[in-house]
Assembly symmetry: C2
Homo-oligomer: 239 residues x 2
């Protein structure tokens, strides 16, 4: 929560102006005008620099744009890259119902690969959560998640959620940074049985390391049926 009050309870003027303008233009079409700086000066009885400080913040966050000689206007929303989402949201984007069956949800000792990925020592405790995931009823994916238990005390006891990312969000641990690797492969017998395909069928493998700040929250390894899943990614941003 942002500090909007001084010690004596007075509101910061530039914040008052900023939020007034934000409320005014909220939902307005791109290109619609915001109040002019001098109009805000008059309305709030503040100096122009104070108004500019308020508008600067809204320009920086991309809500407004200034056009010299013309005025200040609602900016066109900028495109931003694909957010970091999990299976549940991936399915929602496709308009499919995400369902899961938990095959495993327990405390384990980290093996060498998982330990390295989570930046732990081999044998440290991790939470291993394995699910078969469906979209509109059809088997789509087999997902293994490994969570750093130190960051998630009591996670196994609180009842497993549908969306891991929602649960992480509740604890302020939703990843803001992800390192993904994506490859094509064929499945072995065990994975084939769970995905309801023949051994040797082509699959898409997707591994992810999820971080918030410098904390590695989870590592996931997903195997998608190639006939039922294509990964979509949007990269970059507007100028």
């Amino acid at each position: 929560m942002e500090d909007v009050l001084l010690r004596d309870g007075r509101a910061l003027k530039h914040v008052v102006v900023r939020e007034y303008v934000r409320g005014l233009v909220a939902g307005n079409a791109p290109g619609s005008p915001a109040p002019s700086e001098r109009e805000l000066v008059h309305r709030f009885g503040v100096a122009r620099m104070t108004v500019r400080q308020a508008l600067d913040a809204l320009v920086t966050e991309g809500l407004l744009e200034r056009i010299p000689g013309r005025g200040t206007f609602v900016a066109r929303p900028r495109r931003v890259a694909t957010p970091i989402i999990g299976y549940t949201e991936e399915m929602a984007r496709r308009g499919l119902l995400a369902e899961s069956v938990t095959l495993l949800a327990r405390r384990e000792q980290a093996g060498p690969g998982v330990a390295r990925a989570l930046n732990l020592t081999e044998g440290d405790a991790v939470i291993h959560w394995r699910r078969v995931r469906r979209g509109d009823g059809a088997v789509v994916c087999l997902e293994d998640n490994y969570l750093n238990e130190v960051l998630l005390p009591g996670f196994l006891q609180t009842g497993m959620p549908t969306s891991l990312y929602d649960a992480l969000d509740d604890r302020g641990l939703r990843p803001t940074w992800a390192e993904d690797s994506i490859s094509a492969d064929t499945v072995g017998d065990e994975e084939a049985a769970l995905l309801e395909v023949d051994p040797g069928t082509v699959v898409l493998r997707h591994s992810r390391r999820g971080l918030v700040d410098d904390k590695i929250v989870n590592v996931s390894r997903s195997v998608y049926r190639a006939d039922r899943f294509t990964l979509w990614i949007q990269l970059g941003h507007d100028a």
Copy 2:
């Protein structure tokens, strides 16, 4: 290029201060101090608001951070998502030498799929560029690029570059936005021969639509040998 001069040739003071500070701290370790605002006021003989305008710009771009009561310091560089890069840079990231053999580079009439992807009408002229791409000598990928000819007049005549993205960059058309789709598949006879694998071998398919602003610059369809290529992607940003 930014305007740094007024009509009469005088430099904008906040730009002078900003670039002075940028030069001072360039390459300095995160946490090292920048000059204080009042020190800059004294050095340049300007008002403090002018100095603040200069520093605000550097804070917004992530170079500096302010700590109230302490001073202004070089900020820790923020992580940003994977930039939009092509094969040449993908290989460079792996420390591999990117080489290509052009199989096709010609003007064609857009088929239905390409026309839709480039937002053209079927039969419109497109540039089709097909290459077999190698990394450290080994065949890695078969890439078909379709370019909007209207945006790239004379492109075929200027001699084909190694890196498409470098060539686009030279024309101010390097994509800043990309829509990618990634799937696993098996190859047919023609692709198999070019990739030097058996038909039916598993491959990674990567399609991309590259845009700058609202202009669709190119559409690419790449087929990677699954045994020689894993896609790496980093998503998100620091708080």
